[in-house]
Point group: C2
Chain length 236, copies 2
């Protein structure tokens, strides 16, 4: 039993991390790919593509990481604000808060004596009472300490790792068309593998998840590339 | 009472939406700004900056939206997988699952007869039992239908709206240095206002939140811009 619980907890401490890695990787596999592909059409040397791509990875990882930091920070602030409100409400309007505990237990099917006793027991201690309201009424879990910084680091790191994949072929002394082709293949393989691993984590069928991610990501990269080309042609 | 509960629910249906808007806006205010500022240093006309900026907004919003779609989809898949597992476990190992309900109530301070009765009542109906385990053991809430599509639309839309702000000055017939200056000011004001509104939503002090977002966002934009310039100079 203890093993199962520990396994679960490990699994769910990982849930926010999975979300961060997915956010960073999916963006990192499409934007730098599209930019590099766009530059490959206009540039005269691999060096320019590599420089542009690295600059995009630097800028993109920083601003994606910032977004993750601010979003996680806002979740932590929401938790703190609501916690303070629940504590305050159990102090100044205990009857109403007690009635809410009752209502939650009634929704779970508790009746009569069991309902009374469970409500009494939960509201006997403020700590348990507030924790119960946070989880059952508001669906909020306490964020881990330094969650915002970790979230930023995971998103930015995933963006950098994923962004280097479509860029890799341009580091080699290939002509630009071959490098572009290799970049398409590398990005496609990475998108499929990323989708398959994501499926394994979330319990979806890996093959289906891999193909789906390949299609959506490929479409996103193709549209981004097409728009860039079209606009560049209009400007030229 | 009913009013308060309704108010709360509205507030918390909005929690995922707030996260999406923060992710989209913070990235949309920094990457397009940095790219436009970088182009303004090299370009000979406002038109090139506008075209490059619009292409970046198109590519960025698509790939950010994709990331949000995949992340929300993975949360929904995790929920479905865990729900199926809980249902299965209450069927094949009801004693262990019952013991977990007991353990959860004991952690809330229930004892003796109240503990027995509450455990009996929750485990009497499979639906309530499974819902209780999902929320209390795993901290998982059921995702809204089409949550992934809505999340993608919110992130991409926020990116587009935010990305147009630093680009706006280049649409006017200003010389490039003035347009860049106006872009810096517009982005700064937008970052500060965005932080202040975010603070109001999450319950943090608006002024503090506005200044903090302005500083972090400004730093991210400046670093992104600096790296782009440095790399461009190395390549030239």
């Amino acid at each position: 039993m203890a093993r199962r619980v520990r396994h679960r907890e490990r699994h769910f401490a990982g849930s926010a991390a999975v979300r961060d890695v997915i956010l960073g990787m999916s963006d990192g596999l499409t934007t730098p790919f599209a930019l590099a592909a766009g530059l490959a059409g206009a540039a005269t040397s691999n060096l320019l593509v590599v420089i542009g791509g690295l600059a995009e990875i630097a800028a993109g990882s920083i601003s994606m990481g910032l977004g993750g930091y601010l979003a996680a920070q806002s979740e932590a602030e929401t938790y703190r604000t609501e916690l303070a409100r629940e504590i305050h409400e159990t102090e100044v309007m205990p009857r109403e808060e007690r009635a809410e505990v009752r209502r939650i237990f009634r929704d779970y099917g508790l009746k009569g004596h069991a309902l009374d006793q469970a409500t009494d027991a939960i509201t006997a201690e403020r700590d348990a009472w507030v924790r119960f309201m946070m989880r059952e009424e508001l669906g909020l879990e306490e964020p881990a300490p330094r969650a915002a910084l970790w979230s930023a680091a995971r998103i930015a790191g995933s963006y950098v790792v994923a962004g280097l994949i479509p860029l890799l072929p341009y580091f080699f002394p290939l002509d630009l068309h071959r490098a572009l082709l290799a970049s398409v293949v590398a990005t496609g393989v990475a998108l499929g593998a990323f989708g398959a691993v994501k499926g394994t984590y979330t319990g979806a069928a890996p093959l289906r998840s891999g193909l789906q991610t390949l299609c959506i990501g490929g479409l996103a990269a193709a549209v981004a590339f097409g728009i860039g080309r079209l606009l560049a042609r209009l400007g030229a």
